[in-house]
Symmetry: C2
Subunit: 81 residues, 2 copies
DNA sequence: ATCATATATTGTGTAAACACAACAAAAACT
DNA sequence: AGTTTTTGTTGTGTTTACACAATATATGAT
């Protein structure tokens, strides 16, 4: 079963590298890469640490179904451009 | 690092056995036992399946810090007795 | 008392999430 | 241009979350 994630998205938004995120959550930089590509499925522990680092709910970070594009979320959220 | 959970609590509330929960989420019955006792820390995948089964957020099911007793939650929630 | 169900314990095996190292390629910055 | 940073890839090793089986104990129902 495929597991989708928004790690790269949140990393990009905050301008933090894989190496920096890895250090923040206490794993090897490679591990972040594997997670972003979907090659690894994280432990709950690691998922919680990453979610805490980004201050988002786990459900917003990982999902069994592909994530809605941010543009669509912005529209739904009725952001006033 | 210890990981606390409310699996037994939700199981008790809904009157479902470990075996039944195990079948619902597709794991061995022993595995549920190990999780409840804190002997195993679940994969994110299994954690998400159990949370979905109970229809609760993962954060309400698993925590690095001990869970507040239900009595205290009820008080905070201002439930009218 | 008997029988079924639920839980606990112990043991063995396997798959996969990690760590770590080395190197290549691409991107960004001076 | 060069040079640092970031990312991707490949390989090897270890730990642990799982599966599965067997048995013991406790509880509950009849």
């Amino acid at each position: 079963m495929m597991l989708y994630n928004r790690i790269g998205l949140f990393r990009a938004e905050r301008g933090i590298s894989r190496k920096a995120l890895a250090e923040a959550v206490g794993v090897n930089p490679q591990t972040i890469g594997y997670l972003e590509r979907g090659d690894y499925k994280p432990s709950l522990e690691l998922a919680m640490k990453i979610a805490a680092e980004f201050d988002v709910a786990i459900e917003h970070l990982f999902s069994f179904r592909p994530f809605e594009p941010v543009a669509a979320v912005l529209r739904r959220a009725g952001e006033t451009a």
